[in-house]
Amino acid sequence: MNLDLSAEQMAVRELFADLFANESTPERIRAAEPLGYDPALWAQLIGTGALGIAVPEGLGGAGAGLLELVLLAEEAGRRLASIPIAEVLASVRLLAEFEARDLLEESMSGAKLVSLATGTASLADQILADGAVADYVIALDGERLVVLARPAVVRHLTNAGSLPMARWHDATEVTELAVGSRARQSFDVACDEVRILRSALLVGLSFEAIEIGAAYARVRRAFGLPIGGYQAVAHPLADAIVATDGAQLLTWKACWAAASRHATAPSLASMAFIFAGQTACFAAQHSLHIHGGYGFMAEYDIQLYFRRSKAWQTIFADPQLELHGLADRRFGPVLADMAGDVS
């Protein structure tokens, strides 16, 4: 057991911590609203070679793994980076897996933005996380894993979390990556990577939401004392930081299990997503609450974290449904219909 990051991984974390701290300031986040996309930040991220981090060297990448992407996502989450992260990083790994060299090259260089449709409904019935800004999405179409091009008309859906989300009607197929069980398997792995990367985004968000709340509670006074000295304010923050530590460990373990092809990998990906989502939403909600009326003001940053925590979770899945998915993965399939049964 070793829970430390390597020197290289620490360097990756530091690189992105600096990038997002400098380039995803609250002013930049607000300027990118309501679309939730900051093209300059996107260009800067591309400039670091971020999209190739976990692509094999033979395909023009850096040959690192999912954990490095998780570290990137945590830092992006901490600063609410207004750019596509989870679905795009998972897509680039799918393109690498199928050696779709042209698209891979276009994606890594930033020439085209390739995202992932994580739903299994028909594409027109999905709300795509990056739909308003993506050029292509990879989608599962029945038995086939395909790449679709952005339709001529795409309408951004203005939303609570300022995500660049949109529906794609009449998207045209560009290429087929795989068919049959291979298509399904690869799609499932990519969706688990999205779960893990979304967990990482939410972990970063949660840490910063707690820090914003704690910083406020250290200086804001009421009834003659800083409010952080009142247990009703302080104790939920303590619960939140403990849970966030747990969510981070769970995310890292899910990453390790995926990389080492451990049998528990799918369960851990589900667990990480559910727990990180629940934790981030709780942390942001309590942190906002202790700001009193100020937390409700658009001018205060905590409201950005509150809105984004819910959005980053629910754009992928209803956590309640994910629990049933986790049950299937962890306990095996349901063998008898007991839906109406009372013991």
Binding site: Q9, A234, G246, I274
Partner: protein, 390 residues
Amino acid sequence: MDFAEPENWSAIRAEAEAFVAEHVTDDMIREELATGDGVSRPLLRALGQRGWIAATWPVAEGGAGLDGFEASIIAATIRLAGGPTIGQGTTMLPANAIRALASEPLKQRILPSVAAGETLICLGYTEPEGGSDVFACRTKAVADGDSWVINGQKMFTTFAHLADFCFLLTRTDPESHGPRGLTMFLVPMDTPGIERQAVRTMGYERTNIVFYKDVRVSDFYRVGDVNDGLRVMRVALEAEQNIAPASKTTQLFNTALAWAQTPDRSGRRMIDSPAVRERLARFAIDAEVAELLGHRVAFIEQIGGKPGPHAALFGPESYVAWAAAVIDMVGPAAMIAWSDDEAVSGGSFEYHFRSAVASTIYGGSSEVLRSLIAEQRLGLPRSRPRTTQA
């Protein structure tokens, strides 16, 4: 980054299981259930022979040179089998403080016999009017020549009726209040003037109220300097708060999952019920998180850091929540006690429901741990007023 269970853990678990098969007998388990003492002398001696009482101490000092996690695997394995673990676990808290801060002659008198499983030490911190506020101590020790005369009362002194010594917090400066002016003693429990009163708990555990009336203790048994008890207590309390509680949440989860996967008389598996699946999925997450936070404690200790009370907060809190939720999930049969033949899963659910609630109280109440985390990790102001008045 590597989350694989290290080989030494699986190795020590296998050794501990073999040890349990040999030494934790059915009679011992039944006696523990009946008495709730938390102590078995034969088990202590057997552990002592293996160096497994003070397992983290060097072999030369009677230990086994294990790391903290290996030691906690041994305790968890005994507990899983239903053997008593409170005696040895509790004894090691003062033993480690004595090892760090006591005089050489006292160390030589006590530590080898602790490691051998011959000496049991109970804890005398809490008083009727001071629980979490442990430094609201009123038990007095007054110097008289080469000895001290102690008067006072302590609450919840588990296995006081079996212990050889009590690690006793006293006030030696009568003018002092709060954490100053305190001194620690190791009081031999056969000293005249000590009276024990049994306290039954709802969780099958027996504990005691202990009265100290003109109890005379030689200065030899003082631990640390006079009026410097705070420092000694810090060492002992930190050890307790940082304990990686090889999570009982996981133990309960495994029992609940086994219940759900086992077909009942009509062949139904409750794991097929959506309501059960959903709860067990949530339970599995909490158990995993409790384990991971515990592992992190072990890892940080191994690299020489201070882990903080995170695991000691999340583990027991999740344990209490699930011990109650499992009763709902399993239904009325979950409430049948182990002593009845119709008990489900050996009465585990009833037992956990009764005993879990104490885990968020002893060893630092959750409120105290949350305050420590808020102060140490988040830089928030202290949320408990300092004692300024008696």
